[in-house]
Structure formats: C-alpha cells, structure tokens
C-alpha cells in the first residue's frame, strides 16, 4: 500500500519516490498545493476503491497523516 501511495504522490507532485518520507508535507513539496491535494484524494479513491469522509480530507495534510487515514479507510474504520 505504501509503495502505491508513494508512486501516486510522486506522479502527482512531480518528484522521485525516494524523496517522499515521514517529513513530507505541503511545506516542503512544491506541487503539493490545495488543488493537487484534491487530485491526490481523487487518485487514492480510485486506486484503492474507497471514499474518504469530509473529516479525512481535512486531516490529510502530511505524508504520515495521509498514510494513516488511508490505512484506516482501507480497514473500514
């Protein structure tokens, strides 16, 4: 799951997979702006066949949080 997530992020944000780490957030990734944030959500929903709630979306503001919320969504929490 993490690999897929990183791959999607790398394509959307135009960066190498290796550049994504636990510190990654909109503050240090150029192309991670509010518009690309929506693209990220749509892409993850398609890839993992899930639907994020409004609260999920608000909270997904760093790589660790995206990963956590994605994990929860996949396990139906």
């Amino acid at each position: 799951m993490e690999n897929k997530l990183k791959k999607i992020m790398s394509e959307l944000f135009d960066i190498e997979v290796s550049e994504i780490n636990e510190n990654s957030s909109p503050d240090n990734i150029e192309k991670w702006d509010s518009l690309n944030q929506m693209n990220l959500i749509v892409s993850l929903e398609e890839e993992f066949n899930i639907v994020f709630t409004d609260d999920d979306i608000i909270e997904m503001v760093s790589y660790p949080l995206v990963k956590l919320i994605l994990k929860n969504a996949l396990h139906g929490e």
């Binding site: 509010s34 518009l35 929506m38 749509v42 398609e46 890839e47």
Partner: protein
C-alpha cells in the same frame, strides 16, 4: 482510465507531438483545475497538440479579454455560483432581485461574447440547475433564472460559439457520479473527475472539426452490420435490414459524410441487395465507395483511404466480427474501429455515438432561433459598444472596499486568511490566532484588513496587511484569490499609504519573498511605485526588498472603487 494514469500519460505526451500547439483557455466561475490534464490528454491522444490554460477563479469576464487570442475558449458558467450560495439564497429572493442578477449576467455574457468574437471556437456550457432541482416538482426560482439565461445565450451567440447542453453529460454519468460536492463548500470545485472525462469526450469532435481533423468517412461491413444474417448463406430473402442503422447512415450521407462498404462477399450479391431489396434504406447512389471482395480488410481500408485521398485517421470502421475488428485495430491504429454490439437493442445507441464523431459546424446553425436573433441583435448593439474594456465593466459593479484597522472581532478569519492564501501573498507569513491578537493589541504593530462588496453581494474579509512601526516595515500583504481581477489590491495600497502618512511616517520598507506559488505578485511593489533595494541581501533571488518615500507615492486612480472605513 484512472486520473493518475491520465496525468502520467499526458506528461509522457507533452512535447512529443509535432503538430502545431493548439491553445485552449478554460474559463469558469468554479474551480476547474482538473480539466487541464484531462482535456490535454484526450486531445493529444487524437494528435491535437493541446495546450490548456485554466483561467482564474470567477474571472470569466476578465479572462475573456486576457485569453481572446487562444485557439479555443471553453466556459464553465455555473448557475449556483453566480453569487455565493445562490442555489439556496435565490428561493427567498423577490422578482426584482432575481431580475437584477439576470441583468448582471446578461451584461457579462455580452462582454464575454464581444471579447471573444474573433476567437475561432468558443464552447459555452448552457446554464444548468439540475443538481439542485432534481427533486423539485414545480419550477424553482433557480430553474427560472437558468431558463432566462439560456434563452439569452441562444439568441445572442455568434457563429463561432457552440452551446453545450451539459445536462446530457451529467445524465450520461448520473447526477451523483457527476458531482462531487465535498470540495464545493471549501474550494468551489463542483464536478467529479468522471464527469470531466465524459465532458471532454463529448466536446472533442468540436475541437477536431476546428483543427480539420474531423472524421470524414464511415465504412461499414455488410453482413450483421447493415443487415442481420449472412447474405451468402441465408440468402437475399432471409436477411433482415437494420432499419434504424440504415436511416442514420443515410442521414450522415446527406450531411456530407462519405459512406462506404467494406465486406467479404460476392459483389454481385451485394449489388442485388442494394438495387432490389425492398427493405433497404441505403441504396447504391448513397454509397461513395465499395470494397466488396475476399481480400483482407486492412488492405481494403488502405485502398479506400488512397482512392478517396483522405487520411486513415479520418476513417471510422464498423464491423461485427471480433477477428476483423482486432485485425484493423492492431494493423491500422489510426482508423477508429467500432464493433457492432452483440445485443441488437444496443446498436442504435452505439451508432449515435459513432455518428457524433462526424460533427460539423454547419449542422448547428439551424438550431438557432433566427427571428428572435435578429430582433435582439438591434437592442444588443447599443449595450455592447458602451463596454469596450474591463475597466468600464468593473465600473458597473459598484465595488466598495471597507477597510478595518486592528479589529479583534476578525481574529479567526484573519489567521485563517494568512494560513490559506498562497498566490497573492507578498511574504507568506503565517499567523496563528494568538499571533493575530498580539499584533492587534501591540502598539508597535498595526493590522489592516478589508472586505469587498459589489451590488450583488459581499465577499467578507478577504485581505490584510501587517505593518511594524519599529522598523517601518510592511511585513505582510495578502489578498484572497476570490477578489482578484478587480484592482482591489491597488485601492488597498492607497489606503495603507494614506493611513501610514496620517501616522506621520516618512519612508517605509517592504519585501517580496518568492515561494513556488506567489509569482504573480513578484513585481507588485514595482507596480505600486516602490524602489528596489539593491545589494542588501545575499539571498536576493528569494527576497527582494523595497522602499518608498510616502510623499512620492502616487495614488493609483481607481475611481470605480468606493473606499470606506469600517467600525
């Protein structure tokens, strides 16, 4: 295809096409940033070297001027966001108020159409309120407004404008799948990715026609394509003509599409059917070219292209056999191939999709209500000529800027603005609510903010500036993108300078800190008459610092914005 795949594939195609670049501007009063990749990819995969620019949020009028040199302009004009919350506010409005809104939009339509009169292709989505009207039995007020505006569009468009009935596309994917309201209230996006895919598929033939890449020939197989049954086995008397398909083929042929046959059969058998079968609708005179023989279809299609002197990419081929369909697809990828559906009842729908590929501009002219058109044209000429440019349009809005100073009641909103604003933000300093309170309460600092209203509504608090008296430094200056394109920034700067002069300041400093998102304001201070400090800093490619002697500041004259001071 998934969204991430489209982005990836589009990137791969970028710069690969040798055809000339085709510039498309997408204007909107909602956020449509997702359209760029989808639109580009869909067209690039058909060899149109599309280069899409998405206009500013809610800047249709301004952008119609800015992008008029584009090859094509596409406009998303959403009824529900004509003003913020219109979809519910309108139901309590009186006739007069609704009429005012309609007049405003009509005026904007006039200006947009005038600005774009020389643009070769303008695609405007019709106004729709379907999403918010889906359960209303009586006509709602939103519905009424939508009808008024659509009627106006229909009688006012020029020949370069195509209206798109967007509700058809919404219904093709279903309302629930076409709309994603999760980001509507926060970010003003409206449509889903699935919708955009269908949308650009739907309008693609218009663009292909505009660049001369439209499909020209429809080549049909015979057995189980023009009729049910196999002529060579079932015989003349036992085939059953596909009447609907033949009617539609004949319609295409009358519209100038080349209709041809490519079939493994004996030529004289097929000729016998074309000449003498009582149920046939298509006759020999309607068929431009026939390849009825036992050669493979790839060879036949190549010959057809050669004899007609058209490109293989302008041919659409329809056949019922998996074998033939696969063969042509793999050998002649330029040819658009469709397979006759296994279920007869699906054939008519598929055929209509095929027919849409032969879109040509001239068919749409008769859709228009000519009598009304000429009547209104006389009226229209008066209004339009009085609005030559954006400035005079802005002047009609009744813009009012209300300035506040150190207002503690706005703390929450001010902090939020500083956190969220990226584009029009000179230093991108982020303030928490506590920071904002400290600035407001401090006598060393001052915080100015503003709201903008026009005769149709109020934007709320949409900009701020922070000034530090200790070093005479303008620390922060930002505007929400909702109020851009109206020259508000200059009126605000006038007010800031005025305020600082009253406080007895002589010279002030300011700086621009480059981020990846604020390029649009890189020369803002220069525009306002500030001078650049040269050689002061080592990191000068990121930070530029400026100063101005306040008495040298020339008020930027924007007389159509009324400035008042709030309590």
């Amino acid at each position: 295809m998934k969204f991430s795949e489209i982005i990836k594939n589009n990137k791969a195609l970028n710069g690969q096409l040798e055809t000339p670049s085709y510039k498309i501007a997408i204007l909107s009063n909602i956020m449509v940033h997702q359209t760029k990749d989808i639109c580009e990819y869909w067209l690039r995969s058909d060899l149109v070297n599309a280069d899409v620019l998405v206009g500013g949020y809610d800047n249709i009028v301004q952008d119609s001027h800015k992008f008029k040199e584009s090859d094509a302009v596409i406009i998303f004009w959403e009824t529900c966001n004509i003003l913020d919350g219109l979809q519910y506010k309108i139901e309590l409005m009186g006739d007069k108020e609704i009429d005012e809104i309609a007049q405003k939009v009509k005026l904007e339509i006039d200006i947009v159409l005038k600005n774009l009169k020389k643009t070769s292709l303008v695609i405007i989505n019709k106004f729709s309120s379907l999403v918010f009207n889906r359960y209303s039995i009586n006509m709602s007020k939103l519905n009424l407004l939508e009808n008024i505006l659509n009627e106006y569009l229909e009688v006012n468009i020029r020949l370069n404008v195509r209206l798109v009935d967007i509700e058809k596309i919404i219904s093709n994917v279903s309302i629930d799948k076409a709309i994603d309201l999760r980001f509507y209230y926060s970010s003003k996006t409206f449509y889903s990715f699935i919708f955009y895919k269908k949308y650009f598929q739907y309008i693609k033939p218009m663009v292909l026609a505009a660049v001369g890449r439209t499909k020209k020939a429809l080549i049909l197989d015979c057995d189980n394509t023009l009729w049910k049954g196999i002529l060579g086995e079932d015989g003349f008397d036992n085939i059953k003509v596909f009447e609907e398909i033949q009617y539609l083929s004949l319609m295409l042929s009358r519209r100038g599409v080349i209709v041809g046959l490519c079939s493994k059969n004996n030529l004289q058998d097929v000729n016998e059917v074309l000449d003498n079968h009582p149920d046939m609708i298509l006759r020999d005179k309607d068929i431009v070219i026939k390849k009825i023989n036992w050669n493979d279809k790839v060879t036949n299609l190549r010959e057809i292209a050669k004899e007609l002197n058209i490109g293989l990419d302008s041919i659409v081929f329809l056949d019922d056999s998996d074998f033939e369909v696969d063969l042509v697809r793999s050998e002649l990828p330029e040819v658009r191939v469709y397979k006759v559906p296994a279920n007869e009842h699906e054939y008519g729908v598929l055929f209509r999709r095929v027919a849409s590929l032969f879109y040509s501009f001239t068919n749409t002219r008769e859709d228009r209500n000519k009598v009304q058109f000429y009547k209104d044209q006389i009226k229209r000429a008066d209004v339009k000529d009085s609005f030559g440019d954006i400035e005079s349009y802005l002047a009609t809005l009744g813009l009012k800027l209300t300035i506040y100073k150190d207002d503690l009641s706005q703390v929450e909103r001010l902090a939020q603005l500083s956190q969220k604003t990226n584009q029009f933000n000179l230093t991108t300093k982020r303030y928490t609510e506590v920071d904002v309170i400290n600035i407001i309460k401090s006598t060393d600092q001052m915080l100015m903010s503003f709201s903008v209203s026009d005769k149709y509504g109020d934007s709320g608090i949409t900009g701020l500036a922070v000034f530090d008296f200790r070093n005479s430094m303008l620390d922060s200056l930002l505007l929400s993108c909702r109020v851009l394109g109206r020259n508000i920034e200059f009126a605000f700067m006038n007010a800031i300078v005025e305020m600082l002069k009253q406080r007895g300041l002589f010279k002030i400093e300011s700086s621009y800190v480059r981020t990846v998102k604020n390029d649009q304001v890189s020369n803002f201070y220069e525009k306002c008459g500030f001078s650049k400090n040269i050689g002061l800093r080592t990191d000068s490619n990121i930070v530029s610092s400026y100063f101005i002697i306040l008495d040298d500041y020339k008020n930027i004259n924007i007389d159509y914005i009324e400035v008042v001071y709030g309590e």
